[in-house]
Amino acid sequence: TAGSLAFNNAQAQFDSQGNLLVAPWTKKTGSDFLTPPYGVPSKYEKGVVRILPTPAAAFPTASRTPLQNLYGIITPNGLIFERHHAGVPDIDPDAHRLVIHGLVDRPLMLTMNDLVRFPSVSMIYFLECSGNGSAELKKRTGTTVQETHGLLSCCEWTGVRLSTVLAETGVKSSAKWLLAEGSDGAAMTRSIPMQKAMDDALLVYAQNGEMLRPEQGYPLRLFLPGYEGNTNIKWLRRLKLGTEPWQTREETSTYTDLGAGGKALQFTFEMGVKSVITQPSGGMRLKQAGFYEITGFAWTGAGKIRSVDVSIDGGKSWDQAALQEPVLNKSLTRFRYPWMWKGEPTVLLSRASDSSGAIQPTVDEVLKLRSANSVYHNNAIQPWLVTANGEVSNGR
C-alpha cells in the first residue's frame, strides 16, 4: 500500500442521518492475550511488506523495505531489506562459532555464549546497500520510494565492539586488513581496513531489542557503521587478520565503481550523504488540497546529518526542514516540513548536508565522470512530481 496517506474515509460507522454509530468492535469482546504470543501487525496492514522487483529475476538479489509506510527512524525487524548471495541459512546458535586468526597473538574460537558475555553496546545505525537506487542512475524505473530507495533500513544494534574482542586475541602490528567471512552458502567475504575494525566496528547479535533475524545474520553479524551494506558480513564465522586486502570476488567483480575513463574505484566503503521524501512519495495520491507534512529520511556514512533543505517548487527555492531529535551518528534522521498545498502541480525535493560538509548532489552531478556501467553509490536528490489532481510520481 502507498503509505498512510492511503487511509480513506469509509463511512461505515454513520447512520443515514450522518450520526456516529457505535462501532461493531466496541460492542463485543476482542481477541485474547497471546493471539499470537509473538505479535503480528493488524490485518489491515497486510500490504506493508518487503517486495522483490517485478518481474522476478531468475536469481533475485534483494527485497526492499516499504519506506513509504515507515514512521520515526526505526525499521521494524519484519520489514528490513534483505540482501544475500546464496539464501538465508538456518543456523543453530549453539553450534555456531566465530574464529579469529591470522595476525593475532592468540587465535580464538568463540561460542555465542562467550560473545554475549563480553561488554556490549547498543547503537542506532542505518544500513544501506551500495546498490540502492542503482537502476535510477540510468533512467526512471521505480514508481514508489520502496522501489527507488528501499535497500535502506535502520535499527538499534546490540553487540560487542570488535576492538574489545581483538583485545582478547591481541593484534600484531603488521595487521592492516581483516577478512570477514560468512557461514552462508556463499561464504561471503570482504576485506576491511583494520582502522575501521578498531574504530567503531561491532559484532552484533541483536537488533531492535531481540536476537538478529535470520536474514540479518542470525546469530552473528559484522556491523560497520556508515559502510556499504555488503561489508556488514552476516552469519559471521571467521575473521582473519592480514597485511593486504584479499581481492575477493565481492571487492573486484562486484562492489567496485567504474569511472568514465574505464578505471574502477575499489574499496569505496562509505555511504554518501543522502535524503529522500517518503511522504508524499511515488504512487500516493493527495486527495484534496490543504495541509500536509512532508517527511522523509536523511543519512550519511560520514557522521551526522547537519541539515535537510526541502523545495516545494521544483528547486526554485529551498527551505530548512526540522530534524527530529536526537540526531544520531550514522543513523537515519527523520526530517519534517510543513506544506500547505494549494492544488498546483509541482515538484518536491529534499537535499541533505552532513557534518563533514558534504551536500547531497543532483543526479547529473552523481553521473559526472562515471561510466555508463556505473552501478553503486547513487545518492542523488529524488524529485517527486505532484499533479493538479494530487498524483505523486517519480520525477527522475
Binding site: 574460537m109 568463540l110 560473545l115 583485545a167 593486504e244 584479499w246 574502477a264 574505484l265 562509505e270 555508463a372
Partner: protein
C-alpha cells in the same frame, strides 16, 4: 607494537591452525592459501558442462546466471564485467568458485576440480592456452587483462 599477552576477560577457547583447516579457505591475491592439486582446461571444460553450464551457458556466455566470458570494452555502454573484461586477479576465481559455486552445492568441489574450472574459465576468456594445467604455482602468475584497471581508494 603488538598488544600485550595477558588474556583480558578469558572468554573463548584457543584454536589451532589444524583445527581451522576446513574453514581456512581464503586465497590471498598473491596466491597464499592455494592448496595442493591441479587441473587442466580440458578437465575444466567437462566439469563446467556438467555442473555450471545450466546457469552460465555452455561456454560461459551467460544464461539464467552471469555471463562469465567476453564482456567487451568497459568504456562502451553495453559492456559486461566478466573475468576477461574486468577481474584483476586470477586467484579470485579459485577462491570464489571453491567457496560459492556451483550455486546450490557450494564447497562441494575438490581442489583439483576448482583448478580445472579456473583453467577453463581463463582459457574461455582467452587469457591462457588450451593446454594449460593450473596449480598453486601457476595461478598467481596469470596476467589478467584488466589488472591495471583498478584504483584503490579506501574511503
Amino acid at each position: 607494537a603488538d598488544s600485550g599477552h595477558e588474556k583480558i576477560l578469558g572468554l573463548g577457547q584457543p584454536v589451532t591452525g589444524q583445527q581451522l583447516s576446513a574453514w581456512d579457505i581464503d586465497i590471498a591475491a598473491n596466491g597464499v592459501g592455494l592448496p595442493a592439486g591441479s587441473g587442466s582446461v580440458g578437465q575444466g571444460k567437462l566439469i563446467f558442462q556438467a555442473k555450471c553450464a545450466s546457469c552460465h551457458g555452455a561456454e560461459g556466455q551467460g544464461g539464467p546466471a552471469n555471463k562469465l566470458t567476453g564482456g567487451g570494452n568497459l568504456n562502451t555502454a553495453g559492456a559486461v564485467k566478466t573475468i576477461g573484461s574486468y577481474w584483476p586477479f586470477a586467484t579470485t576465481i579459485f577462491d570464489y568458485v571453491r567457496r560459492a559455486m556451483p550455486y546450490g552445492a557450494p564447497q562441494s568441489l575438490s581442489n583439483d576440480e576448482v583448478y580445472a574450472l579456473t583453467a577453463y574459465l581463463l582459457n574461455a576468456n582467452q587469457i591462457v592456452d588450451a593446454d594449460t594445467v593450473m596449480d598453486a604455482k601457476a595461478l598467481p602468475l596469470v596476467q589478467m587483462p584488466n589488472r591495471a584497471g583498478f584504483v584503490r581508494v579506501e574511503r
